[in-house]
């Protein structure tokens, strides 16, 4: 075990996967000598060389499109898009080839690749650098979408994503990159994709969240439990697609009340999907409308107002109390 930030843990996962499998290679902007703008690939260029750690041209569509080709050829590229806002530049290649090539060729060309990218707000970034559009990928058949919340699950989920036979979109909460440290085992560790985690079992109400918002939820839960004596069940989704519907519906069937928290926009967002599924699988147990705590349907604002824009613990606490108060 070693105490690591999420950045260090992700770096460890990349290092070990490259060490274990010569077909795993990295591609992205400034990931070589520079180690990536957030230093997630630090030292890997020195260790594995320019052939396996490829600095790309300034072209996101090019990164994803050529990575799809490498995967067709049999490699396992792990690409980095510098900020998730720039995945828009690659949307066509993601949707038309990365997500669909396996199906188009009836399995002849599986695409074993990962698209890593930092998402979300909270670091006083310039415009277009704080997006949380994971719902686009959840709505895109053929992809898996994974979002870790801390150093340890980030490492295990990235390793699992690299080893997964299907294309994975891996969103990294940049607000968490260096926010705290966690014990991370030195030896190779993975976690199954598609499984949510009950972080704290409880009986009064379920809070479902993922990524950077898990910190906010933990803070809220501490308050709710200690100050208000509310027995909250907190669930970390971890995998947006496929989604662990069973764990979610079991929880809400038990608690009958639920608040969903994420940074992404509200309309057609991940919370909407969770509500739709709970409506199907836990309808008879619902005692109150499920509340969505999300960013509103406006672009992420300029950073002087991001603190107000982003949901915080009080917002979550308020939603929980309203949900509990509902008759």
């Amino acid at each position: 075990m070693a105490e690591m930030t999420m950045v260090e843990a992700l770096n460890l996962a990349l290092d070990q996967c490259m060490d274990r499998d010569a077909d795993v290679c990295l591609m992205g902007e400034d990931i070589g000598i520079n180690g990536g703008v957030f230093r997630v690939t630090k030292g890997l260029y020195e260790k594995y060389g320019a052939r396996r750690v490829m600095d790309s041209t300034l072209a996101e569509c090019g990164i994803i499109g050529t990575a799809v080709g490498m995967a067709i050829y049999g490699l396992k590229p792990v690409t980095e898009i510098q900020f998730s806002g720039f995945t828009m530049q690659a949307f066509d290649q993601i949707e038309q080839n990365m997500a669909r090539m396996r199906n188009r060729t009836q399995g002849r060309y599986p695409i074993r690749m990962v698209m890593r990218t930092p998402y979300g707000g909270g670091i006083r970034a310039v415009e277009h650098h704080s997006e949380s559009r994971e719902a686009y990928w959840a709505h895109t058949p053929g992809l898996k979408v994974v979002i870790p919340s801390g150093p340890r699950n980030a490492r295990a989920l990235l390793a699992a994503s690299i080893e997964d036979p299907d294309p994975v979109v891996f969103y990294e909460p940049k607000a968490v990159y260096r926010a705290f440290r966690e014990d991370v085992p030195e030896t190779h560790e993975t976690m199954p994709l598609g499984k949510a985690q009950v972080v704290r079992p409880g009986s009064d109400i379920s809070i479902i969240s993922y990524g950077a918002m898990m910190r906010v939820c933990r803070e809220a839960v501490d308050d709710l439990v200690e100050l208000n004596g509310i027995d909250v069940e907190l669930i970390d989704l971890l995998s947006i697609s496929p989604m662990d519907t069973q764990t979610l519906s079991e929880s809400v069937s038990k608690t009958g009340r639920c608040v969903i928290v994420h940074e992404g926009h509200q309309t057609c967002g991940v919370a909407s999907e969770i509500i739709a599924r709970l409506n199907e699988h836990a309808f008879e147990y619902l005692c109150a409308p499920i509340r969505r705590v999300t960013c509103p349907d406006i672009p992420f604002p300029y950073f002087q107002t991001e603190k107000q824009f982003l949901p915080d613990a009080d917002t979550v606490i308020g939603a929980v109390q309203e949900t509990l108060a509902w008759e």
């Binding site: 290679c25 396996r52 090019g62 499109g65 990575a67 080709g69 067709i72 060729t105 053929g142």
Partner: protein
Amino acid sequence: MPDELNDNPDPEAPTPAAKGQFPELKHGVKSSNMDTSPIEPGNIEVLQILDEHGQLDKSLDPPLDDELLVKIHRGLVLTRAFDHRMLTMQRQGEMGTFAPNLGQEACQLGQVIPLSRKDWYSPSYRSFGAQIWRGWSMERLLLLWAGYHEGFPPPAGVNDLPFSIVVGSHVLPAVGVAMGMNYKSDASCMVVNFGDGALSQGAVSEALNIAAVDAAPVVFVCENNGWAISTPLNKQAATENLAVRGLGFGMPSIRVDGNDILAMTVAVDEAAQRARVGGGPTFIEAVTYRMSLHTTADDPTVYREEELVDPWEERCPIRRFETYMKYKGLLTGERIQQIHAECEQEVIEARDLFRSTAASHPREIFDHLYEQLPEELEAQRDAYLRRLDERGGSDG
């Protein structure tokens, strides 16, 4: 709030100097930090070996062995026979929309003739002649155009990408395959085909640039057939020729008579050889013409004068090559007629096999998206299959 700011759009901003006030540009002085002599990007070769009358440039006649030449001729004839048949079948409602390649047969075969099985090919939706040469059975191609999923995956042993219908979307993956060859030190190459219209897609420009920067073993064959549906070349590009585009990205570029099977074969072979030994990509503009419809959903008479097509009758790549084969003493007029008949027969047989084997598999549409179907999709599939059963699975 912005009003408080001392923004100052200077009303006195210098209006542009009146024409002529500034000296016309000419080269600056030779200076210590900048070579100011004009840059010469280099010339673009233009290649034709057999002209439209079958006139041969003997100095360029490639030493292809007779067997291969005969096989090439058959390939050209078969491609056209297949094209005609598909058109008929489409008109009879047996095919979906498809894109004829009448007149582009040499252009397409020339792209793949120099390739070995280790080499890769990335076809567009109009490349079925090349696909047949690469080993795709005609009945598989019929399945593809008739909307059967089974027609899309490349046959076992054929290193091809699925044909690309989203214009230009295959070029980046094709470059990626070539980058994989560099990664694995595999001395093979990738030939990727796209049209004059596709060259306007940003993704294609990105692909050209990446291939050049990474010296990826790719041969870009830009099939300039003069049209992108109703859009003529001069509305698609501001340059007379398209080869100069390759030059702009820093790769050797050449303009080839796409209706000259010898020129195409020689040009692609040289580019492929260079690519395999680390020489990087080549851009080939293949000049040809879309003599027929864009697709069966298209009506060219709306936007194109028939007179524009006439001269290209003259430039028929097949007749041209047959003149050459006779001149070489490899084929007689009689034998040529037989070959045309044989190819027609081959196509008929493929059609019959297609008719007897074609079957859609609606129950399988969930089976190929993920290696293992996620639970949530299993539920969707089960609901879907129940529906099929209710409707009577067979139709079904």
